[in-house]
Symmetry: C2
Subunit: 257 residues, 2 copies
């Protein structure tokens, strides 16, 4: 692994749950020598990607990422496009909508929109990492990944998040076959208990899957009517978002739509 990759990997260990990381802890998390971690963090710090916070000298993400994100958004206005689509989805279905994107082999939630129709709703955070096997979004993406990548993902150990998480590769294969037929993925309680999520894949200009949009509702509220409403809204929303982002649905999928 190159040094640069290693340095950037360090940044992946910052999460919402762990926004501050000390030197030794970082070395442990990333599996590198403490001296190496120190040198890499120092370089990241000089570039403004991390900074040292407060008393314990722990590291956290720095302001440089804001500049880059601002530029990215100016170049590819994805957040903006997605958030209007998600807003519509959340409003029409009354449930929580979110978009996740494929980033370096992982699926990361990037934008979300909550509905205020119900007192209870599924809450979402941006920047959280989803699994391929346990979430609707994950299945939606997995179904349209190139076969070698599917194989790699399914042959690695699949951690169950809840008692209902499907971890048997064979059953997941069946699930993604169904996703390919219908264009919509579904997962009940696979990531968080009592959450029923539907998702539709998003494709880029080269017809590769780049992420998914999803709607997550409490299991208790799911009815056949809501289910078909959600699936219809998702299909429409996904198509619109793909258009806005300049993407294309693969040819072999279009007839079904």
């Amino acid at each position: 692994m190159g040094t640069v990759t290693k340095a950037l990997t360090l940044l992946d260990h910052f999460t919402l749950a762990r926004p501050l990381i000390g030197l030794s802890e970082m070395a442990r998390l990333a599996g590198v020598n403490k001296a190496t971690a120190f040198r890499l963090l120092t370089e990241l710090q000089n570039a403004g990607f991390v900074e040292q916070a407060g008393s314990a000298r722990e590291y956290r993400l720095g302001p440089a990422v804001l500049r880059l994100a601002s530029l990215r958004e100016a170049t590819v206005p994805m957040r903006e496009a997605a958030s209007t689509v998600l807003r519509t989805l959340a409003d029409t279905t009354g449930e929580t909508a979110h978009m996740s994107l494929l980033q370096g082999g992982r699926l990361v939630t990037t934008v979300h929109a909550l509905s205020s129709r119900h007192g209870t709703r599924v809450t979402m955070d941006d920047a959280s990492v989803l699994t391929f096997h346990g979430t609707g979004s994950g299945l939606a993406v997995l179904a349209f990944l190139p076969e070698p990548e599917i194989k790699a993902i399914l042959s690695a150990p699949l951690k169950p998040h809840t008692q209902e998480t499907v971890t048997d590769p064979k059953r997941i294969r069946e699930q993604i076959a169904e996703v390919r037929r219908s264009g919509i993925a579904e997962s009940v309680g696979g990531f968080e208990k009592d959450v029923h999520s539907h998702a539709a894949p998003i494709f880029d200009a080269e017809e590769r899957v780049m992420g998914a949009i999803a709607i997550a509702a409490p299991v208790a509220r799911m009815t056949p009517e809501l289910r078909s409403e959600i699936r219809a809204a998702l299909a429409k929303g996904a198509q619109e978002l793909i258009n806005r982002l300049g993407g294309h649905v693969p040819a072999h999928l279009r007839p079904a739509a």
Copy 2:
């Protein structure tokens, strides 16, 4: 220079004016061998920091920066805090307000707020880089930087942006002395012609200057009344923002306020 720093330096060459950069061009801009640029870009690409766009295979910033920015904002909600303060400033003064932050030795505009009171107004972009000598924000920050850094900045060649840009180190020294006295920096037409900008420094928890907030108005609209209104609003806004961000004004400055 470390390899990581070199890789991150590549990212600095993406700007609003140049969001797409080809391999050879990047090598030229960054002053590295084409093979090196290729390897670094490939590593950045695998981490999602850049991606290859469209037909000419040019590179642009990737989606990974969005995740990091989202996390940074969750950890240090600076944009949010700043944008409410800037909103108030823009509303009370009727002019454009913006915040710039020190990042790796450069001053980068991070958030801005426009006023709708007048038909003409100064327009701003996020993520643009300001010079220390030609802008109000630059002078506000420069005045409170450690002496060695001031020296380094003033001994490098200072490019004039307009005919009115002050580039004589001696005169700049005088300007920042005045900034230290009053706490407010001022620059007329130094960056863009016909723009009169006022700025106040922002300090972090260790009393180091971390950036500035500024108000930019058309020269034609500047009157003694507006000027004192702006200076008062800026002083108040800066103090509030410093509080919200958990910073402290250096002890030797406080008596003056």
